[in-house]
Symmetry: C2
Subunit: 191 residues, 2 copies
């Protein structure tokens, strides 16, 4: 009804953005380069937007603009995050193929650097993340179809409601088919 004064049709009461990363509070002590700082913040922001830990994104941002391999302690010093976070984030990025380990002779520390080809990283993300998600929801869709049949039998839904629901599920399935059709293109783009 929009009964109240401030209520406008176009207002969305839910926050869509992520909280800002005020670089002043998180020191980034060792980072003299402003460009790196901005990259670290932007990357952290993006990761958070994608539902991933901000610190992992900061981690990657630093690597992405680092010409020389970095150790865990470099990360800790540059970003001002705990060693635990640095370790966890680094291993996560390794697992995604976003980072690679650089073995240095006579060095006891582990050194890492970003995988240069962003395509590779995105391709991995697509395979591990997007593709599996789509498959999962497709499975749930199939579940719904059979549950719908069950509902018809048990009388949980009357005939017209069941028909309506079947239409809607059909629309979702059609969309899934379209997505499947797009997949080869997406893969070609990434490879």
């Amino acid at each position: 009804m929009s009964r109240h004064f401030g209520a406008q049709e176009t207002d969305c009461p839910v926050r869509i953005c992520v909280s800002v990363d005020r670089g002043s509070e998180n020191p980034m002590k060792g980072l003299r380069s402003k460009a790196r700082r901005e990259m670290v913040q932007a990357s952290g922001h993006l990761f958070q937007l994608l539902g991933l830990p901000r610190s992992t994104g900061q981690n990657y941002g630093l690597f992405y603009l680092s010409a020389t391999p970095q150790s865990l302690d470099d990360i800790v010093g540059n970003l001002g995050i705990s060693k635990g976070s640095a370790s966890t984030g680094t291993r996560c990025l390794l697992a995604w193929g976003a980072l690679k380990q650089v073995r240095t002779q006579g060095q006891r520390r582990d050194y890492f650097e970003a995988v240069g080809e962003l395509r590779v990283v995105l391709s991995n993300a697509y395979r591990d993340y997007v593709k599996t998600r789509i498959a999962t929801y497709a499975r749930r869709l199939a579940t719904m179809v059979s549950l719908l049949e069950e509902d018809s039998k048990t009388g949980a839904l009357d005939k017209s409601e069941a028909k309506f629901c079947a239409q809607r599920l059909g629309q979702l399935d059609k969309m899934h088919q379209t997505l499947r059709g797009l997949a080869p293109w997406a893969e070609k783009f990434l490879n």
Copy 2:
């Protein structure tokens, strides 16, 4: 180094999935249809994955499989969420164009139903969400380029480091251009 027993290269220590919605704890009292239950859960899950409130997704899931317009109290009864959440979520979905209000004569309640054409909903989401994000990050990228120049002057980065960073930023810009090239296709797909 993978120094420890359990540490495998392919393990990612960070949770990528969202917590499951055990339907048993959240009652969904009034929902007899199992298909609707599954849809509510799946939709809530998907929203959460996209960084949106789960309850808003549950809300939409219910509408999507409802043949008849639903009121706020219907939502509250069906999903077992508070009226506050129901109101907030509904207004949010309205603002996105995912729901439309149905005016019923001689009825004092507000009734809503899902917008049937999923294309429209996704098109709105693309415009309000994806497109603006890309623009934001493109802006930050431009900022980095100028900060990099500044770093070169102040000596925060030496020559070879600056060159390396410039290459990396160039790669990102190239990717942005590619994305921009894809945008018309995406829009055509959605319209």
